[in-house]
C-alpha cells in the first residue's frame, strides 16, 4: 500500500526504547522463575533448575568463601575483599583471564603480519595461500596434536586460541590494509615517506580502529577456544569449574558462572570500545 504507514520510519521514543530493550531479559527471568517453581513443586531437591535464592546462596559461597586450599590460611575475621580474593570464583577468573590476555597479546604479531601481507606484495604472496589454508583447519581438531606436542600445560591452551583466532585476524588485517585507498599510499610517498612510514604511520593508524573492532568481535571465539582447552585439560579456570560441577549437577553454580563469563566479556567489549573511541577520535563507524 503506497500511502500506508511505513514501519521503517517508526522511531520508538525513549521510554518505549528502554522498555522494549529490557523486555526479553525480564521475560527470560520470568520464565526461568516459573520453570524453577514448577520443578520444585514436584521435587523439592531438584538440581536441574535451581531457584533464584538457591543460586544466590551458591554464588555467595563461590565468591566469598575460600577455596579448599585457603580454608586454613584465611582467618575468621577476614573482610569481604579478602574473602573474594581467596574465593574459588576469583581464582578461576584469574586463571582464565591470564590465558585470555596472553592470547590477546599473541594476536599482535598477527596484526603486523596481516598489515605487511596487505602492503608488501612479496610478503602477501609468501604467506597468503598458507594462511588461507590454515584458516580452514578446525582448531579444535588439532587439540589432540597440541596436547601431544605441548603437553597439557598452559602452552597448549594458549596455542589452541592462537591457532583458532590468528588466521581470522591476519586475514581481516590483510583485507583492511588492502581497502585503504591507493591514493593515500601514493600521496605518502610523494610527501617523502618510506615503506615503513607508509606501513606504520599511514596504513596502521588508519586501520587500527577497525582492527581493534575485529579483535573485539572475535573475543567470543577466543573464549570459545579457551573454554574448550580448559574443559579438556586444566586444573583451574572458569571452564574447568563448569566442567567439574557438571559431574555433580551443580547447576546452582554453573548458571552464575556462565552469567559471570558473559558479564566479563561484555565489560571487556565495552572497555575496548571506549579505548577505541579515546585512541581514535577521528574514527566514525560506518
Amino acid at each position: 500500500m503506497p500511502g500506508g504507514f511505513q514501519l521503517v520510519h517508526a522511531k520508538p521514543n525513549r521510554t518505549a526504547a528502554i522498555l522494549l530493550s529490557w523486555f526479553l531479559f525480564v521475560l527470560g527471568i520470568g520464565l526461568y522463575v516459573h520453570a524453577a517453581q514448577k520443578r520444585h513443586q514436584g521435587n523439592a531437591e531438584d538440581r536441574v533448575v535451581p531457584t533464584i535464592p538457591h543460586m544466590l546462596h551458591s554464588t555467595y559461597d563461590a565468591a566469598f568463601k575460600p577455596g579448599e586450599d585457603d580454608e586454613q590460611t584465611l582467618g575468621e575475621n577476614a573482610n569481604m575483599p579478602q574473602r573474594f580474593l581467596a574465593s574459588m570464583l576469583w581464582k578461576d577468573t584469574k586463571a582464565s583471564a591470564r590465558r585470555f590476555f596472553y592470547s590477546l597479546l599473541l594476536l599482535i604479531p598477527a596484526v603486523f603480519l596481516g598489515l605487511h601481507m596487505g602492503l608488501f606484495p612479496y610478503v602477501g604472496v609468501f604467506f597468503c595461500r598458507f594462511v588461507l589454508f590454515f584458516d580452514k583447519i578446525i582448531a579444535l581438531s588439532l587439540l589432540p596434536i597440541l596436547f601431544i606436542a605441548f603437553g597439557i600445560d598452559e602452552l597448549s591452551k594458549i596455542m589452541l586460541i592462537v591457532i583458532g583466532v590468528t588466521p581470522t585476524i591476519i586475514l581481516d588485517t590483510f583485507n583492511l590494509t588492502r581497502s585503504v585507498p591507493q591514493e593515500q599510499v601514493v600521496k605518502a610517498f610523494t610527501l617523502g615517506a618510506g615503506d615503513f612510514d607508509v606501513a606504520y604511520r599511514v596504513i596502521l593508524r588508519q586501520i587500527a580502529p577497525r582492527v581493534l573492532n575485529s579483535i573485539r568481535l572475535n573475543l567470543k571465539a577466543v573464549m570459545l577456544f579457551l573454554f574448550a582447552g580448559e574443559m579438556i585439560a586444566s586444573t583451574d579456570g572458569l571452564a574447568y569449574r563448569i566442567a567439574l560441577l557438571r559431574r555433580h549437577m551443580g547447576m546452582d553454580v554453573i548458571i552464575p558462572y556462565v552469567l559471570w563469563v558473559a558479564l566479563l566479556l561484555f565489560l571487556v567489549d565495552v572497555m575496548m570500545r571506549l579505548i577505541n573511541r579515546k585512541l581514535h577520535p577521528w574514527f566514525r563507524e560506518a
Binding site: V186, K187, T190, L191, G192
Partner: protein, 288 residues
C-alpha cells in the same frame, strides 16, 4: 631540457585489452601550468599517474629532468579528487606529515632534535593554513570536520609544504560547488604564480582549463579500439577577447570529441580570461 618528457609512451592493461594511451610524445617545461583535457576514460588520469610514477608505461619512457621516473617520490606533489588527506590526522598533522617523514625516520623521531624541529614544522604549517584561507582553529580539526573545499585547500598546502618541483592535481576541484571551485581556482593560480612550480591539472572543464592553464593538452581517441593520443596542444594566450575565448572553447571541445553545453560552473563564470576572473573575485589580476 624539458622537465617532463613522454617518449612514445603507450599504456595497455593486459595483453589482449585495448590500449588506454598510444604513442604519446610530449614535453612540459619548468614553470608551465598545463591543463589536461578530455572526455571521461580518455586516459587523463593515467597520464598523470605516469608522471607521478605510480603507473608504468607498457612502451616508451617517462622522464623527469632526463631521468626515468618509476615510482612516486617528493619530486611530484599530488592532490587527487578523493582521499586527498589522511583521515586519522588533523589539518596540522596532515601538513606537517611531509616535513616530518622527510627529515626523521622511525628512530630519529625519538631524539630531542625532532621535538625542537617539530615546533618549526608547526609554525610553517600554520603559515600555510593562513595562506590557504583557513583559520588557526581549523588546525586541530580532522578532515571529516572540514568542507570539501577546505579539504582540498589543506591537500594543496600539504603537497606544497614539501616544495615539490611538480604539482599534479587530478580533477581536484570536480566535486566542489561552483563558488568554492572558483575560489580554489583563484587560490591555485596564486600559488602557482607565487611558487613558480610546474603544475599539471586534469579537468573535464574546457573553460576551467582555458582560464587556469598556460597550456591546454587535449587527449582524445579516434575509435574505441585505439588508445588516446594528443589531439590538440594549445598555448593559451595571456589575454584575448571574449569571442576568441568562445572560439578556443569550441576548438578544444571539438578536439576532445565533445560539444557540451556549458555546465553550472561555466554558466556562472561565463567566458572569461584570468583578468575577468580576477574582477569577479575582487582580486588584482596579478594575484591570479
Amino acid at each position: 631540457m624539458a622537465l617532463i618528457q613522454f617518449e612514445n609512451v603507450s599504456v595497455a592493461y593486459g595483453a589482449t585489452s585495448h590500449p588506454v594511451l598510444s604513442n604519446i610524445d610530449l614535453s612540459i617545461d619548468e614553470g608551465e601550468f598545463v591543463c589536461l583535457l578530455g572526455q571521461t576514460g580518455c586516459g587523463k588520469s593515467t597520464l598523470l599517474r605516469l608522471v607521478l610514477g605510480s603507473e608504468q608505461p607498457s612502451a616508451g619512457r617517462v622522464l623527469i629532468d632526463g631521468v626515468p621516473h618509476n615510482q612516486p617520490d617528493p619530486t611530484c606533489g599530488y592532490v587527487p579528487q578523493k582521499y586527498s588527506l589522511f583521515p586519522d590526522k588533523t589539518v596540522m598533522g596532515n601538513i606537517t606529515f611531509g616535513p616530518e617523514v622527510s627529515e626523521f625516520n622511525m628512530l630519529t623521531r625519538l631524539t630531542p632534535r625532532y621535538f625542537r624541529q617539530r615546533r618549526e614544522f608547526r609554525q610553517t604549517a600554520m603559515q600555510y593554513i593562513r595562506r590557504i584561507g583557513l583559520q588557526d582553529a581549523d588546525a586541530h580539526k580532522y578532515p571529516d570536520q572540514l568542507s570539501g573545499g577546505m579539504q582540498q585547500r589543506v591537500a594543496i598546502a600539504q603537497a606544497l609544504v614539501n616544495h615539490p618541483r611538480i604539482l599534479l592535481l587530478d580533477e581536484a576541484f570536480s566535486a566542489l560547488d561552483p563558488g568554492t571551485r572558483r575560489d580554489m581556482q583563484v587560490l591555485i593560480r596564486q600559488l602557482w604564480r607565487g611558487t613558480g612550480i610546474t603544475l599539471v591539472f586534469v579537468t573535464h572543464n574546457t573553460h576551467e582549463a582555458l582560464q587556469l592553464g598556460t597550456r591546454v593538452i587535449v587527449l582524445a581517441r579516434e575509435t574505441p579500439n585505439h588508445g588516446s593520443h594528443v589531439a590538440l596542444d594549445l598555448t593559451v594566450p595571456s589575454s584575448c577577447p571574449t569571442d576568441e575565448v568562445s572560439r578556443l572553447v569550441a576548438r578544444l571541445d571539438s578536439a576532445a570529441g565533445s560539444a557540451r553545453e556549458p555546465d553550472e560552473f561555466t554558466s556562472a563564470i561565463g567566458d572569461s580570461t584570468p583578468r575577468d576572473l580576477a574582477a569577479a573575485t575582487n582580486l588584482l589580476p596579478n594575484e591570479i
